[in-house]
Amino acid sequence: MSINGHASAEVIQALTASESAALNFGRFSPEAAGGEIRLSPDGIRSSTGSVSLGGGLYNPAIFNISGQPDFNVVVNLPTTPILITNNSNGKTMQILNWVSIPASSSTGIKIQSSGVITLNVGATLKVGNMNDNPVGLYNGTYAVTFSYN
């Protein structure tokens, strides 16, 4: 005697992420002592120490994450300082205190019905004095990981 059994499986959309805006602290001058520049995930820039903020563009990083609606995505920002380097002289600066909006938690960020999360990322740039951080363009890369919870 035969019978038909039923089998089923659910496929969840794989996560994809892209960077739509690179983290940019903009222009500034360290002046005598240096200090810190804090760029919040919602794009507010402030400084400490002798750092003098200049004009021009600055913006938080923006990532677009696509996945299965109603599932949670855990975002892991860098937990150790990331170095950015002046390509003409090899001098470096540290970026630390990475934060995001929406904030990441162990349970993750819920994907809305649109299937997309827009994640803004800000951080703090540690600036040395004029000798440590002479004029120039500093750049580097960092990793943000996304995974389903």
């Binding site: 005697m1 019978i3 059994g5 089998a7 969840i12 794989a14 299965q68």
Partner: protein
């Protein structure tokens, strides 16, 4: 007079024998044993749960007969909700052995035009033996083959399980 009566009685008796002989029937004995046919009914359905495919690599999700799911390198999962081996309830003759035949060719799970292949069916036990009460539950597991960037959604399909007395 007395003698005549005796003869008469005899004749009556003889006639009675004669009539009995003409309608004689013999009572033979015949017997047949009706065996309980084997029967199979579906219990729990085979469920691979929810999985996340890789964008560029294929992979598999295997559900064991114990209902434990294992994923190949590129396949991920968020939870094990719903994951289950199939069960079938077989009934028939007490203590009788029987064979279990699982699909030997690919089975398709479909979501519209999108498909996934299920194969590698296994059962526990591999060959059946009904209990003294004439029953046994068999469990079935299988392998789900997931394509790269497999389209999201719920896939379903059917497969056949056959049991027969040995």
């Amino acid at each position: 007079m007395k003698t005549t009566l005796k003869i008469f009685l005899f004749l009556v008796v003889a006639f009675g024998f004669s009539a009995t002989a003409k309608a004689q029937t013999a009572t033979g004995s015949a017997s047949v044993t009706v065996l309980t046919p084997i029967s199979i009914a579906a219990g729990t359905a085979l469920n691979f749960g929810s999985i996340v495919p890789h964008l560029t690599e294929t992979g598999t999700a295997t559900v064991s007969t114990a209902g434990v799911r294992t994923l190949s390198t590129y396949i991920k999962a968020i939870n094990t909700t719903g994951v289950a081996a199939a069960t079938f309830n077989v009934t028939g003759i007490a203590s009788q052995a029987y064979t279990i035949t699982l699909p030997s060719t690919d089975v398709e799970l479909a979501k519209g035009l999108d498909k996934m292949i299920v194969n590698g069916f296994t059962s526990n036990p591999t060959s059946g033996a009904l209990s003294s009460g004439g029953a046994q539950t068999i469990s079935v597991g299988a392998v789900l083959n997931v394509s790269a960037d497999q389209a999201p959604g719920s896939y379903s399909g059917t497969y056949s399980v056959t049991v027969a007395y040995q």
